[in-house]
């Protein structure tokens, strides 16, 4: 059984376990953060109006939690998308294009959200 634990070589990509582990780490972070976010969205009456939303965004804990959420969310999401694309797209050029598009889209989504959080937290 111990012979099965140690890989003989890393394989052509030279990496792989880190993807698995990062997926787990981000999922552990996302469990409480995601739950907090959904609870806030559904049960916080503030968030249904613009004034309430602005007030909500001035609280540091909300902003920090949102930032952590956005980072973990888009990272975890991209890792998942990567697996799905690699599983189903067999044509090399299409796969590369889709992987890159997914990566850029997730980065854009994350950066846009981070910018918005800072803008809203620091204004008024």
């Amino acid at each position: 059984m111990d012979l099965m634990k140690t890989p003989r070589s890393l394989g052509p990509a030279r990496e792989g376990p880190s993807h698995w582990w990062h997926q787990r780490i981000s999922s552990i972070a996302l469990a409480p953060l995601g739950l907090w976010f959904v609870i806030s969205l559904v049960f916080h009456p503030d968030l249904k109006t613009y004034d309430g939303f602005q007030a909500w965004m001035t609280k540091p804990t909300h902003c920090i939690a949102l930032l952590l959420l956005v980072l973990s969310l888009f990272y975890h999401g991209y890792l998942g998308l990567q697996v799905i694309i690699e599983d189903y797209i067999h044509h090399c050029l299409t796969r590369i294009t889709l992987l890159l598009s997914a990566k850029f889209a997730c980065i854009a989504g994350a950066v846009s959200s981070i910018f918005c959080v800072f803008k809203l937290a620091l204004s008024s």
């Binding site: 999922s27 469990a31 049960f43 956005v70 888009f74 998942g80 997730c106 918005c116």
Partner: protein
């Protein structure tokens, strides 16, 4: 040109099991949640653009015609969360036998539907 290699039929042959259905559902809900992540980015952007945009966005999300979609979105979240926890338990080595997998599987489905209903009715 590389010739297409034939694949034996699988989806038309194998009977769906709880294990396989929940597995593909985890992937589908994950994909849904990725799309919803961009909705979160959009939500924050409407906040930056101003009250008219923000109110319009909230109005769309709260519209009666959107109710089935908000249900699906909440279900996607809760199912992926609970089944994700089930996956993490599997990673520790626990619960991999068929009996436990079925028990935890049904619990995940029940919890997901239950919490979705509670949150959806409150939204």
């Amino acid at each position: 040109m590389k010739k297409d290699k034939p694949l034996s039929p699988h989806i038309q042959i194998y009977r769906p099991q709880l294990t396989s259905v929940l597995s593909i559902l985890h992937r589908v809900t994950g994909l849904t949640l990725v799309m919803l992540s961009f909705c979160i980015s959009a939500w924050l952007l409407t906040g930056v653009y101003g009250p008219e945009y923000y109110q319009d966005y909230i109005a769309i999300l709260s519209h009666p015609l959107m109710r089935p979609f908000s249900f699906l979105a909440l279900f996607a979240f809760f199912y992926h969360l609970f089944n994700g926890l089930r996956h993490l338990l599997w990673d520790t080595g626990w619960g991999l036998d068929l009996k436990t997998a079925y028990k935890t599987g049904w619990s995940v489905v029940a919890l997901s539907i239950g919490l979705t209903l509670i949150f959806w009715i409150s939204f």
